[in-house]
């Protein structure tokens, strides 16, 4: 459904992304993991045309991404960016309803139809924001705002989700809820997701495939078990880690081995 073919993104003399290919297929969650400045977010942005590629192509539904209209892309691909910066008194409901921009059935007066409103309300309920509808966005906590951003993406009805650090501001419980939501969308319907994350363990739990990135290049790509190994993680992050199996899920569990102890042993 969405594919990056050997894309390169160059800013002046610096290569942010260099020759990366990625295929997004229905039912799959792909995590992109790597150190700061590896080009993860830039790659994600290129997948919906928000960043222009210097070389290579992005293909959406067998056509070049840039041959689609903005509206058509937005109906297929939803982005969950890092927290929104809201400077006006916008309510949670208005914010989430914004997700219906591309796909709305407008009434004669230019207002969203009952179905659009229903979709927004469902998304609010799914992200556990029910009761927050008339609260103002700039009065919410960071985590609540981030859930509203996810709700807006869910309200678009798009099949492909691009998530940039979706769990950065969330507490432990909400991190899991949020990713479970995306996971179940991908399992139940023909949806797919690409997640940029710093949380290697969440990536191991929730994704079908993991891409390890360093210096703009894809270092390794495969199932979490194949990719999240001590050797590869050391190569990418330059850090000694311990990888064992999660006692409940059996997914790889990554524990950094710090040379210095911050708390002296008792």
């Amino acid at each position: 459904m969405l594919e990056a073919k050997n894309i390169t993104i160059q800013y002046d003399a610096r290569f942010a992304v260099q020759g990366v290919s990625l295929r997004v297929e229905p039912g799959k969650v792909i995590s992109i993991v790597g150190p700061n400045g590896a080009g993860k977010s830039t790659l994600l942005r290129a997948l919906n045309g928000n960043v222009k590629t210097t070389a290579g192509e992005v293909i959406l539904d067998e056509r070049l991404l840039r041959s689609h209209t903005r509206r058509a892309i937005a109906q297929r691909v939803a982005v969950v960016a890092q927290e929104a910066d809201v400077r006006f008194p916008v309510t949670v409901f208005e914010f989430v309803l914004g997700g219906r921009y591309a796909g709305a059935n407008l009434t004669a007066w230019g207002w969203e139809s009952g179905r659009d409103i229903e979709l927004a309300q469902n998304a609010i309920a799914e992200t556990e924001l029910a009761g927050f509808e008339s609260r103002l966005m700039n009065e919410l906590s960071g985590g609540e705002r981030q859930r509203a951003v996810l709700a807006r993406a869910l309200a678009t009805e798009a099949k492909i989700f691009l998530l940039d650090e979706p769990t950065a501001n969330l507490d432990l419980a909400h991190q899991a809820t949020m990713l479970r939501l995306i996971r179940s969308r991908c399992d139940k319907s023909d949806s797919a997701a690409v997640v940029v994350t710093h949380d290697v363990n969440l990536a191991a739990e929730f994704s079908n495939e993991v891409m390890l990135m360093k210096d703009g290049r894809s270092v390794a790509f495969g199932s979490p078990r194949e990719i999240l190994t001590e050797q590869l993680l050391k190569q990418v992050f330059g850090l000694q880690v311990l990888v064992d199996a999660h006692p409940v899920s059996g997914a790889p569990r990554v524990t950094p081995v710090h040379e210095m102890r911050s708390v002296p042993p008792a």
């Binding site: 903005r70 937005a74 939803a78 910066d85 006006f88 916008v90 914004g98 921009y101 230019g110 700039n138």
Partner: protein
Amino acid sequence: MVCAGMLLLLVIVFVISSVVGAQKLSLSGALCALTGKASCSLSAEERAILFDIRLPRILLAGAVGTCLAAAGAAYQALLRNPLAEPYLLGVSNGAAVGTMVALVFFGAHEWGRPVMAFGGAIAATFLVYRLARGRAGASPERLILAGVIVTTFLSSAIVFITTVMDATRIRSFTFWLLGDLSGTTSSLLTVAFIAAAVGVIALVMNARALNLMMLGERDAFDLGVEIGRVRLIVFAAASLLVGASVASSGSVGYVGLVVPHLVRLSFGSDNRLVIPAAAIAGATFVIVADTLARTVIAPRELPVGAITALIGAPLFVYLLKRGTAAVV
């Protein structure tokens, strides 16, 4: 409902301001004459005051208020800045320079003033936008600073043009620069009305996209907004509104700040409501301000811009102190 209430308020303000002034008219007489009847209790002189002096002025005040308030609301949404306002951004000054150039060089031409004012407004808009835009978009502070720079630069251009003018016209110019509704002609009135209608309709048609651009261009792009096209239309429409109002009445300041803020307090931030409501409320606000301007020290007059600034400047300080993140 609320819009109907606001329209009713506008009509009431319209009627009241048509009877008060240096020469008071009887309310019943004025109402009778305004509804188009020929035999009313007004003398010929009073009829002339009502129809030839007061009515065109009130209509112009309404059109100018509509233009400036709708433009202010649009600039605020597009530039993601609750403090953006045509006067503070230097757009009004851009239009003023355009108007003055038209007066000096093509003085005889009726349409020269509004056309050049529009050109000046659009040039100033793009200049401020380019100056303010940093890597992370235009921050509120950066935008206001860019506005100050453009305003002072254009002010010196205005001073330069005034010095090359003949001395007899300088006083009326100083007055005009502060916002003055007394020098209206029927063609300027027509231009202001057409511009108000075209501009407000163009903005309302893009209001849904503006709702998203108000939350960030990148988010708007992700959600399917053709941001380049919307930005161009909104800049052009807002410049048209400011150009028309400045060409006919000089730089009336702070209308675009005060009115959208009051509107957002009661309607929330959806631009599909904010823009039309600001258009109606702006008309009411400037008619009231102009009625005050011509009555408080009657028979002498104040420029209407002095009254709007008297109300607007303290509000600006209040909003700035409160911090733009939590602005109404």
